[in-house]
Symmetry: C2
Subunit: 259 residues, 2 copies
Amino acid sequence: MCQLLGMNCNVPTDIVFSFTGFAMRGGHTDTHHDGWGIAFFEGAGVRHFVDHQAAVASPVAELIKRYPIKSKNVIAHIRKATQGQVALENCHPFVRELWGRYWVFAHNGDLKDFHPVLDGPYRPVGNTDSERAFCYLLQQLRERFGAVAPALPALRAALAELVRGVAAHGTFNMLLSSGTELFAHCSTNLFYVVRQHPFVTAKLSDDDVTVDFSTLTTPQDRVAVIVTEPLTTNEAWTGFAPGELKLFVDGWPVEGESV
Amino acid sequence: MCQLLGMNCNVPTDIVFSFTGFAMRGGHTDTHHDGWGIAFFEGAGVRHFVDHQAAVASPVAELIKRYPIKSKNVIAHIRKATQGQVALENCHPFVRELWGRYWVFAHNGDLKDFHPVLDGPYRPVGNTDSERAFCYLLQQLRERFGAVAPALPALRAALAELVRGVAAHGTFNMLLSSGTELFAHCSTNLFYVVRQHPFVTAKLSDDDVTVDFSTLTTPQDRVAVIVTEPLTTNEAWTGFAPGELKLFVDGWPVEGESV
């Protein structure tokens, strides 16, 4: 199994603190050493870093920890290979373009007998069940909505249905973003916390690091962090229900049809 | 105008030496300070780094210079904005997927009145003439060949025709690779050198750096480097003819129909 980390904010925020703890699980406090990756939206653009080395040993991960890239939407992944060999093309997150926007996707879990017909423009480059699922989702969205992106409620409804179909094949914890929103689906393990005013001092579970967010933020800042296992020992993480698809916008989970 | 750097090799090779000189032009020995980018194929996967900071000031460029990523196909670009604002989504190289392979593209030049109908699956995310041209090329290739990649000679012939059409709109020096080959088209400025046994000591034009390739290579290694302006003062660079599309495979320009 792998681990997921997502961040959705109302102002561009750096992920150095959360990534530092998360990256420790890539071969140090946990056994996810078959590669890692992270993608940051910056406006419409994406910075995409993948490495088939363990995150703890990767010079690129070292750069991420030192260089505070600010982003409103980030998706990261550390991999323990279940399907597909250890190779760069199998590292999450994956990136494709649909409707003139980049889409970033990462998956934790294992899909059995999931071989959808991919006869549209999205074909896997590697050989993971995850990239197949991503290509399938984009193919179906493009088929349903044609050349023009739908409004967010319609997109959410379509994704809820599509994701349910994929999850019928196994474990499908996943994060998906096109730069303004972040979708998170839970089959088994996913937690989130919203960091907002008044900010607290947080302590990482995986490393001897604390940070006082109140010194780094303004009272208007809001940051949702979504992760496979809680990253800190002194924040109130909320568990997703199995089968739940949440939509985060501006650092906040959007309920029901209220998008 | 921008500058291009490409590398095509018969064995995975690091580009640290050539990139070091090239990056100096990103704000130091030349004025290309509106961002930069580089993409390395590693097997079927791609490492893609883009930054809207000048290459001389970028911590990511610093990483590339220190971390010898080995690749058989590399495309790099430093940008001086002519069309499209300075933003991450406008940094070359651009990456898309076609036929289950990633395609990497970078362009130097300026296209006038180039607004092709993009009604297929490839839409620009940013607002450069270059990304429009890339989307157009992929759309046309997909339209001609359908779901299955053609053999290299057919691909070369199709690209020669498509590129001629694009170049009719202005200056279209470009590099394009899907990981096993590298296409290079010259409108105005493009040079290449093939480094092979017996290897020499090369001296960068843009920095006080020399390297003795014979200490870093085996006699079987062959590396083609393609660039807007020659990078070294003591190697024999060959200029492209205007309108010429060259195909490089295994570190060598493939002539005529002999692919």
